[in-house]
Each structure stands twice: as structure tokens, then as C-alpha cells.
Subunit: 461 residues, 3 copies
């Protein structure tokens, strides 16, 4: 922007009409793809290359010149070359003085070098204004025009004007520039395309660990125990019955773990009497991955729903139903309707349905396009009020499912309680503490602390 307006003054107003020439160093895959896109968007493009021979792969309309000649033609030079070859730029330092150098490079490993490629470039060519950009865009996406994943281009640099110039180019290519601040951010920007769901790592590892534990727990109770004592082969439980025990347990535990850090934070704040001291590091990290924890919990809940709904189709279940009926007939014994059982069965199903329904609602509101359309109060309402309601319903669903079995000794095999009992520990704890925190004698000071009040203020305005 400012770039343009200073040009208006320096040259003639009419030249603001044309887009300025952009120079690209390097005729590799990415350089050519970027050049192609720029020509489409109306930029004159010159390539700087060791050999100035034009090949059929160079986009039509672009010139290929020596590095020196090409650099002289443009104020913006895109360095589409790998970091290992950057030192060829040292002799060009004088020509590059005052130019905008755009570093588009990526590495193969996270934190491969001590300093980012862009900072390294800035050291090599001290007089130039280095801007980091375009490293998150793939050559293939530029060529094919299918920019489904990440239209976002992270831009950083120490020179405000140079950054603006680059951001204008990004916008002209139909992409969205995101200003990430000074060149110090380059390291993070270079790591970004190498990341693979970093926020999801902890929730997924945790759930795999818990799943493995509960799998073996259920295997012992439900397959090995009957095999040892009753010589019955229930190995096929591995396919559906055991997963359908693991999934609801994980869903409930993970959902409780979403709300546990908030409760812990409240206790810490109440104890400290201030909100201005940092939480321990583990709590901070935990709070930042709550959304991911919740979505993993939702995934397990959905699997639980599917596993439950196929129950009547299962060959084993159909066999069991018909044998029960046949044995009733043969014993000439008809059972009357047990209203208590009907109540228990229907209410645990109803609680599960409502809990799952609210859970899906929470999941939908965490979609970026939905959460962008609600205000802060609405977002808090959904994620906190509805979230706790979901936790209450799901915990109640599990408690009613247990029903009368809690105290019956027959449900203990090898002194192991039913797996669902273990799953109730964390959610009940969270709900009890939350319930205590609602009492006015605790809620009032907490609200004041969160509004900035301090019990022992360390400063006075």
C-alpha cells in the first residue's frame, strides 16, 4: 500500500495502474508454479537462473535472465532455492541492497537448523529486507488451482513496508495473508507445514493408552474368566462387545477430563486469591487441548452409539434371544412385565440419547465456521452450560446402566469390578467439586478474582 503510494510520488500517477515486476530466483518446481500463478494474476515475472536458456517448462510470458540482470528488474525477489545453495547470493549483496527478498523455503525436519532459513538469509544479505512467506503453499496446489487446504499464507518480516508489499501480492493471487509479526516468527512458520496435528497428539496418545488398558481389563473379565471357569469360548466378544465397553468408558472419562482442568484452575485461583499468577505448565497445556480432548471423546461416543445400535442384528444376540424364548416355552414359564426393569432400561437409554444429542451439538458448535458466528457469551453458554449438562447426562446414563448391579457380588470377577465402575471415578469427582464451587460462599470470591480482584494485591493503581 505505502509502497504504491510512494511510487506514485516518485514516478507518474499512471504507473500505479500496472502491477510491478516480480523476480523469482530459481526455476525449480515451486518457482515455476509460483511464477505461473503470478503471471495469471497480472504480474510481469522474470526468472533469475544460472543458465538463461528458456525451457518449455518456464511459464509462458516469463523472461529468464541471469541472477544479476533479473534482480535489477524488480523490487521484490522471491528466493525459490534450497537453503544449502543460499551462499551464491553473497556476491549479489550490492544489487540486492534495499530489495525485498521473499524466503519461501521449507526444511525436511522440525527445527533442522539453529536459526530459521529466513533469518539465515537476512544474515547473508544484510542490506535486503527479508520477508518469510508462501512456505505453506504447495506447488501442486498452485498449479492445479485446488487450494482446498490452507489458502492461508503466513507472512513475517522486520520491515513493515516490505511485508505490506508481499501481503498485497499474496492477496492478488487469491490467497489470504496472515501477518505473524517480526522475522523471529520465521522458525515457527517454517515448522508449521511439517507439523502433523500437534494439538491432537496428547489426546490421541492418552486415549490409546486408556483404550489398551481397558481392552485387557475387559479381556480378562469377559473372555478369559468364562474360558477358565466355564470353558466357554467368547473370543468373538473382541469384535463388538469389548469395543462397546471401551468406547463409552473412554468417552465419559475424556469428557470429564475436558472439565477437570477448569475445576482445578478455579481451586488454584481461590487458593492463591489472584488470577495474575501463571498456572503450572501442565495445566496450561491441558487447558489448551480441551477442544481436542472433547472431540476425541465425541468420536468414542459416536462409535459407542453405532456399536449399540447394531446389537439386535448380531448373530450371537439373535441366538441368545431365541434360546431364552425357547427355554421359557419348554419350561412352560411366562414372565410378567417387570415394570422396574422397564423403567431402568428405558431411562438409561433416554439419558444416553439426550447426552449424545447434546454432545453432537457441542461438536457442531466447535466447527470453526459456526463458532465464528456466535458471540463470546453464546460460546461460553454452549461450551460451559451445555457441556456440563452433557457430562451430567452421560454420568447419569452410566449410573442408571449400573442400576442394581453395583453391590451384587456376582459382578466381581477375580475381585475386578465391572469396567464401567472405574469410568465413573473422574466424572463424579468433577461434578462433585463443580457442585461445591457453585455455592455462593465460593462462587462470589471466584467471580471477583476472575474480574481482576486480588486478595493480597501486589500493587496499587
Amino acid at each position: 500500500m505505502n509502497k504504491n503510494s510512494s511510487n506514485i510520488m516518485a514516478l507518474a500517477p499512471t504507473t500505479s495502474n500496472r502491477r510491478e515486476t516480480v523476480c523469482i530466483f530459481g526455476t525449480g518446481d515451486f518457482g515455476r508454479a509460483l511464477g505461473h500463478k503470478m503471471i495469471q494474476s497480472g504480474y510481469p515475472v522474470v526468472f533469475g537462473s544460472r543458465s538463461t536458456q528458456t525451457s518449455s517448462l518456464i511459464p509462458k510470458g516469463a523472461e529468464v535472465l541471469s541472477h544479476t540482470e533479473a534482480a535489477q528488474k524488480a523490487a521484490v525477489i522471491i528466493i525459490a532455492i534450497q537453503r544449502q545453495h543460499y551462499n551464491f547470493l553473497t556476491p549479489l549483496t550490492e544489487i540486492l541492497h534495499g530489495k525485498v527478498l521473499v524466503d519461501v523455503s521449507n526444511n525436511l525436519k522440525i527445527n533442522e537448523y539453529p536459526e530459521s532459513n529466513a533469518e539465515y538469509l537476512a544474515q547473508l544479505v544484510p542490506g535486503a529486507k527479508v520477508v518469510k512467506a508462501f512456505n505453506t503453499v504447495s506447488a501442486w496446489a498452485l498449479q492445479s488451482g485446488t487450494l482446498d487446504a490452507s489458502r492461508q499464507v503466513f507472512v513475517c518480516g522486520d520491515d513493515m513496508e516490505a511485508k505490506q508489499t508481499v501481503m498485497n501480492i499474496v492477496r492478488a493471487l487469491g490467497l489470504t495473508p496472515l501477518d505473524q509479526g517480526s522475522l523471529l516468527a520465521a522458525q515457527e512458520i517454517e515448522n508449521y507445514p511439517l507439523q502433523l496435528f500437534p494439538m491432537w497428539k496428547f489426546p490421541i496418545l492418552l486415549s490409546f493408552g486408556l483404550a489398551a488398558f481397558f481392552f485387557f481389563y475387559c479381556l480378562i473379565r469377559n473372555v478369559i474368566y468364562p474360558y477358565v471357569y466355564e470353558n466357554k469360548d467368547f473370543s468373538f466378544f473382541i469384535a463388538i462387545s469389548i469395543p462397546n465397553r471401551i468406547c463409552p468408558i473412554l468417552a465419559l472419562v475424556l469428557l470429564a477430563l475436558v472439565y477437570l482442568p477448569g475445576v482445578l484452575a478455579a481451586i488454584i485461583q481461590l487458593y492463591r486469591g489472584t488470577k495474575y499468577r501463571r498456572f503450572p505448565d501442565w495445566l496450561d497445556k491441558w487447558m489448551l487441548c480441551r477442544k481436542q480432548l472433547g472431540l476425541v471423546a465425541l468420536a468414542f461416543a459416536s462409535l459407542h452409539v453405532l456399536y449399540t445400535l447394531v446389537i439386535p442384528i448380531r448373530s450371537f444376540v439373535r441366538w441368545r434371544t431365541s434360546s431364552q424364548i425357547i427355554s421359557q416355552v419348554l419350561n412352560n414359564k411366562t414372565e410378567p412385565l417387570n415394570t422396574t426393569n422397564a423403567w431402568l432400561s428405558d431411562s438409561y437409554l433416554a439419558l444416553g440419547i439426550l447426552g449424545f444429542f447434546l454432545f453432537v451439538l457441542l461438536g457442531i458448535t466447535s466447527l470453526p465456521s459456526v463458532s465464528n458466528n456466535v458471540n463470546w457469551r453464546e460460546f461460553r453458554f454452549v461450551q460451559s452450560k451445555l457441556g456440563y449438562l452433557t457430562l451430567i447426562l452421560c454420568t447419569a446414563h452410566t449410573l442408571v446402566y449400573g442400576g442394581k448391579r453395583f453391590l451384587s457380588s456376582s459382578s466381581y470377577r477375580w475381585y475386578l469390578p465391572n469396567a464401567y465402575m472405574l469410568s465413573l471415578v473422574v466424572p463424579c469427582m468433577v461434578l462433585v467439586v463443580k457442585f461445591v464451587l457453585i455455592f455462593p460462599c465460593l462462587d462470589k470470591p471466584l467471580t471477583r478474582i476472575r474480574q481482576g480482584w486480588e486478595r493480597n494485591p501486589q500493587y496499587s493503581e
Copy 2:
């Protein structure tokens, strides 16, 4: 933008390189959070405060000065102070003359004061250019960087240049400014963060009202009637059976209510012979909450699906099935396959599945990120054509479900018809009227009216 370019001329071109100092009045929670974020984004920040003592809470790199000194250092002053304390600004009127004052305040209640805080500020400091902004952003979100809910910052103000300056700051902080026009919009912007789903209020209240009505209706027919006449305790129907009657009824009625206002509007337009007279107020409001009505209907439809799919798992249903089989065996009576029943059962299930499938499709296309990616014709096609198809399928599903029971007197208890019959009234009405409106003799004039034609034009171009 313009701000910058005038500075270029006034001062030296090189200063455009640095971000301009921003002053923040008030060192409270929000002021500090905003200051912190601004320093991160490269803005020099000075705080104006009653006491100039720097506390540990003031973000690093910021200066704390007296209000007068701080104001002199910057062209943009953010007033992070509550409205009640605004009058301390009156003595500063001269220093603030020509400055951009950004009002970031919120109230505790909707329409708490006769005029908005920003307008009040503009009256207090007549020479300043007041801009309303940042009130939708929470201090917590600014500090933690988790700006999930609303990255959008509504901006309004009477001075175009001042507004542009503030919008540039908003963009630099990584947020999205939305220009809402003149300072008259401030009232609405200040109410925005206090709202709790205002568009959803009517649909949710309506559905709760209908749900309560149908709950008691079904309670009388299905629980109290058998208890009185047959002394049977079916109270457990409250958990699943009755909700599974209420949900489909509400889904169907609400879906029909989505299409009813469009049909009414067509009749009104045909009757008036013009589209240029406003609809009655209630119709306008109704039309604006059609999306919400439809989504609430979809929620009930989803619950209906879940309630229906758990039927075979219910303890009561399993008991009923086995008693039926046992009684057949004991009576030595085997029923042959009734093909008509098989047809009815299968086709109402198939209609329900297809209707629900289309309903979910409608829901998905109403997600903001999906509807932004379709053109107007496609959006209309989905919301109108597919919407009516959904309504037809769901109505047919209910009609076939009724099957032969419509005229059988045994389905009337205490002269009350089955609840699903009541639910058919509105959808059938909408479909019949819509069918009539499709006839060319009505469709042609309607299309012409909607393209701007008038039967009795009141003006001639």
C-alpha cells in the same frame, strides 16, 4: 490507509515503516490484555493512568504515564475505562481534540442507557473522533490467544479516516474488522455481546410450548387412559415412548412452519399485485427465523431417529416380543406373512429414512462455510426444492405410518385422536396451498410480481 499516506507527506517516508504509538487509558484487565496483544503485534504502547507507578502486571515494553502525557504521545487513544468514569475526560478535551478515541466498553444489560457509551463519549469530548470497537473481544481470549469465538471486531464511527485507522489496527492484531457504519450503530454493537441467541428465542419457546402440549396429550392417551380403564402401569412410557411421539410431531410441524410464511407471502403478493409493500411485521420476523426453525426441527428429527433405533434394545419391547411368540406357540397358531403389513411397514420406514437423509443435507448446507461456497441459484435449489421434497417425504412417512388406523374407532380414546393426526394439519395445508400455487394461472403472475411487475403501478419511470 489514508492516515498513513498523509503522514508520509507530513513527515518522512521512512517513518511509515514503524507502527504508530497507541495510547490506552486505564490499566484494568481489558486494557492490559489489549496492550499486551498490541505490543506483540509491533505497536509501541503507552498507558494513561491516575498513578504512573509501573506494576508487574503492566505488559513488558509499555510505558505508564499520566493521562495528559500519554494522550500527547499518540493519535489513537483506547478508552478502556467503564462508562461511569468517563467524565474524568472532560478536563482533557483540549488535548484530545482531533484524536481518535476508541470506545471498547460494554454494559451489563441490553439498552442500559438511553444513548450508547460511544455516543456519550462523543458528547463528552466533542473535538475527538470517536470509534466503537473491540467490545466483542474478551480479555481472556486476547491473553490466551484462543480466539475461537468471534475473531470479528465490529467497528463503527462517523469519521471515515479514524475508522480506517482503527480497522488497520484490528487487522494487525490478527482479527477481522467489520465496518458497521456510523456511530448510530454503536448501540447495537454494545448490545451484541450481551445477546444470547436472539434469533433462536422464538423457535425454542414455540417448540417448548408445543412439546409441553403434546406431552400432556400423550400422557392422557397412553398412560392415564390404560391406567384408568385397564389398570395397567405404563408410566415408564415417559422415558422413551412418549418422547418418541413428541419428537416426530414437533419435527414435522416445525418443518411445515418453515415453509408456511413463504406460502403466505405469495398469497399476500398475489392479492396486492405488487411486491413493493411491506409484509406485516409478524410475517417479516417469521421469515427471518426460518433457518432457526428448520434447525430446531432437524434436532427433533434426529432425536426421533435415535429413539426409534433403540426400540429393539428396550427391555419392554423385548418382553413384548417374546410374550407374543410364546403365546403363538402355546396357542399352536402360526401367522403367515401379511404382505400388506410388510409393504406398509417397509415403506413408512423407507420414507422416513429418505426424509431424514434430505433433512440432514439441508442442515449441512446451512453451515456458514458450506453456504458461502454455493451460488444463489444453488442455495435456492437446495433450500426450496430439496426442502419441499423433505416436507413431502416426512408428511408421507406420517401418513403411511397412520395407515389403516385413521378411520378405526379404537384409536380414539376419550374422543382424542392419535397425536400424529394433529401433526398432519399444518404440513398438509402448506403442501396443498403450494400445489395450488404451482398452477400456471397463479405461478405466472407471481413470477412477474417478484421480478418487479405491478398490477396497479403507482409510478412510471
Copy 3:
């Protein structure tokens, strides 16, 4: 932007404060709606019209003048007139010289005229700077403020400065301008609002064709065959049983067709030894509609899930279950649990559940707002790794479903194999070829080719 800054110089800096007058030619529906919106956003608006009589429909605050007078008042003139009447502009050529003319027109058919309306306008008024914009916005949406569908305004034009001016107006109205390049793009922009899901046409036609084929195939095998040989009326299979055979078959075949072009492309690249030669046209088109193919497959998979879950509720299935039990009782024969059957039944259900779960996950990540938030590596991971895992699980689900029936001759009726066998051909082919391509002797050269290496390079840098 540049526009504004040059005005700053020409006039006085303070005028930059007000928005510039915009002129609209034509007082029709769209012209008035646009004028209304512009006045709301702070633009002074003049209408140019044949008759200068102000009607009650003209938005308040707008002036109505003759075309000549109106044009002189503004630098930007919006031509809200149909193409057929454009020639009235010829006498105004001199007044319009140097002005920005915004063509907002649409046609009734795709490619109705040899050249786009905007290019036609540019020919008629050679001295003006023609910009195409606003044609994707509907008058109704502008008036009612419900811009759910497409806030995006495509803008194209040969004059960069004129385009910037128009894009600023678009932004000021709260819409999102998208620069589409030179006026050559106008044809495409004019066709855009007339399109009806062009990318979906092929996948939907293909699936309808396949659905029709499999419908008649299953009709012959499952309804006509038993009617002819056993005189049984299974016509009600048309409602659920046959759709529930067609849906999983289509889901599996279409999912395989999503991954087939990638496999073909790899073979072509390996054979040619370069990635720089274009693929055949059909392959290119196929690759561009993979997302749509996948979503149609997901739709069929969802229908399959719903059809499967209602099985136990079906009247026919309940009749069949009870007759089987009764016949067992009457024959005094109780079957023991068949563990192999339990294993087969449970594992094909479990495979189906996991496959569907991953399929839904793929669907969610293809939502625009989700895919915008992942980087390229994550997007590739989900769409390729998870996609192949989904294909493997779904194919395994079908294979285990077949179980022991593959070789049993009783499953061939009129020499026709079961329909699910046909559905396995494409997915097995894709999986086998993909498996072969993973071997290092093929994977290594392929990776090098995709990074830009060529077996027979045609040029040297």
C-alpha cells in the same frame, strides 16, 4: 486505495474523509436494492434514469437525474440495465470517458452471447474502464440483509486502479471481493450464477446410472426369481431390502473410484518418467471431481447405515424371526451357539462401523472451514492415509459379509452372482495396484518424479 491517495493530492486531504458519490444507471429492482445498500454504507448515490421523476420506490436520500447529469457527478457508474438496452450508452461515450463502468448484468442462459456482457460494454464505450462485479448478489439478499449464500463478489477488469476502487466499494458494503483477473474472466463470472452444481453433475449422473443398473439386477435376483420359481411375493423388498443392497454397493464402488485416478496417474507418470506432461483430459476432469465422488459415496454409506439399523423394526423381519423360533420349538430342536457364525457376523459389523466412522471423519475434514484450518501435510494425511484405510475397511467389510457364500452355488440365480460380488471388482483392483506401488522399486522413482526429476529430461538448466 490508489484512487484515494491521488485524490488527496489533487484536492484537499480532508475530502478523503467522505465517501465518493456513486452513480447508478437504471432504477429497476437491482439498481434500487444496490443503491439502498450503498446509502446505508455511507455512499452518496445518484440514479441516472430516462425519466427523472422520483418515485416512492427510490431509496431515501438518493437523487434521480438524467443519465448525462448523473454520470457527471460520479467517477463510478454502475450499469444496472439489461444488455439489450446497452446501446443507449453510445451517445454518452464522451461523458463516460475515463469513468469506471461497473457491469452487474446476468444472462438467462449459459454462454448466451458470443462475448460477455462486460466485454460488449467495453466495446460500446471504448474510453471507459469497465469492471465486472456484483452479478452474483441477488436483489432480494441485498434488501433483506440475509446474505447467507455467497457474500463473495467476483470482480474482474483490465484496469487495476478501477478494479481496486470497485473492490473497496464491495468491502464497504460488507461483502468479500475476489479478484478474478482481467476482463476475459467476465464470461465465466457471468456464467457462475447460472450454474447448478457443475462439479456434482458427473458423480450424480454416474451414481444414478449405477443405481438403476443394480436396482434391476437385484429386482431380477430377489423379487422376480422367487416369484417365478417359488411363487412368493417379495415385491415389498423394493422399499428397503433392495435399496439396502444398492447403497453399500454404490458407496464402495464410488469410494474406489475416488482413489482409482490417483493410481492411474501414478502408473502414467512412472511409464512416462516425468510429471511435466499433461494427463489425458478425462483423467484431469476425474481428478477434479474426486471430492464430490467421495461425498456422494458417503451419502450412500449413510443411507446404508440407516437402512441396516431399521432392520429389526421391520414387520417382515419380526415375522421371520418369530416363525424361525416357533418352528424350532415345534421341531423340539435347539441350536447351539455357532462360534464361527458369531465371529463372522460380529467382525463384518465391526469392520462396517469402523469404515463408516472413518468415512464420516473424511467428510467432516472436507468441510471448507475445517480444511482451511489444517496444513498441507495434515490434509494429505487425512485424505490419503485415512482415505485408503477407509477403503480397506469397507472392502474387508464386504468380503467378510460374503463369508462362506462366495463359492456356494446356491447363491447364483440364473447364473447371476450376488450383487455385492460385482461391487468388489473395482476396490480390489485399486487396492492391489496401490499395494504394488508401495514397493520401494516403484515408490522411489515415483517420489523422485513427483519432486521434479525426469527420466529423459528435455531441457537442462
